[in-house]
Symmetry: C2
Subunit: 184 residues, 2 copies
């Protein structure tokens, strides 16, 4: 039986009154710990035909390339969050143009809102969570060194929808759950 | 200084190492309690020119009308969540057609994904969280008895986009934060 945090009452998995599924409940105080999905916000950022990528300085997937993205914080909108992540990870100022995709990675309880954006200017540079930032031509993209399956999805959807103004946001490619497959 | 849960170590607000904003941290065990935004999934469901609404049996806003919507659970996709809520709250089987809107209500840390859907058939009925379910003609919608500002936004965006196949999801109406204004 897990104790959480240490010295607290025992935590058991049970269905709270009025609920319809098991939650983690503290038997000492009745506190219900809801695990909710987390929201990731990010953007594929274009500039003069190139795409901004950041090489990760943090786990998971240190050293691999990704688009600027991260957890939505309380008290910010998803647009504000996507712009904040671009600024934090790549010192990039962006203008968001459209909602490119909504990806679900249910195994890890993640919902991703990925926007299509353009850089306001070419001034980019690594923030504390990046080793390196770079603008890539499409043919230069390091496909074998991308951080996550959803990084590839977002890049491919960005490419598919270049020049398309009105579209529904893309979703996970058919049959893909976003689970990381090493060596893929 | 709050104790959480009872008998655990003192909980203080501090910036964890490597982070850039204050979190609730247990001084006894170092556990970091992240408060993250929660995801609401729902659908405006049409059927032969009418729209499905549910009268709420639970707080907040008991007795007021809303579209089927609720918190996204772990281990389900946003589409699955929207369909589950329609089934739970209105015993309705739906087919989701498009992502109608993404609303942000940052004051309460809520991100809403609202889909456009159609009922598979006219079989609806109140689930445990509804007092009543009903199909409304547009002119019958009880505007003064809607549960939330975002209920009205979703209905108006659904109406605006009837017959439109390709569109970007709508967002909060300009200047509206979703804070509830009683008596409005």
């Amino acid at each position: 039986m897990a104790r959480y945090p240490k010295d607290a009452g025992p935590i058991v998995s049970k269905v709270p009154e009025g609920d319809n599924r098991a939650r983690l409940v503290c038997e000492a105080c009745g506190f219900i710990h809801y695990h909710n999905p987390k929201v990731v916000v990010g953007a594929v950022c274009g500039y003069e035909g190139k795409i901004l990528l950041c090489r990760r300085a943090i786990e998971p997937r240190t050293g691999f390339w990704t688009i600027p993205a991260g957890y939505l914080e309380l008290n910010e909108t998803s647009l504000e969050g996507a712009a904040r992540e671009a600024l934090e990870e790549a010192k990039a100022e962006i203008e968001v143009e459209a909602l490119l995709a909504v990806y679900n990675i249910p195994r890890i309880g993640q919902l991703q809102l990925i926007y299509r954006a353009r850089l306001e200017n070419a001034r980019i540079g690594p923030g504390p969570e990046s080793l390196e930032t770079r603008l890539f031509d499409w043919r230069e993209i390091p496909w074998d060194e991308l951080a996550f399956p959803s990084t590839r999805w977002a890049l491919e959807h960005f490419r598919e929808l270049e020049g398309v103004a009105l579209f529904q946001p893309r979703t996970n490619p058919r049959g893909e759950t976003g689970d990381f497959a090493p060596g893929r």
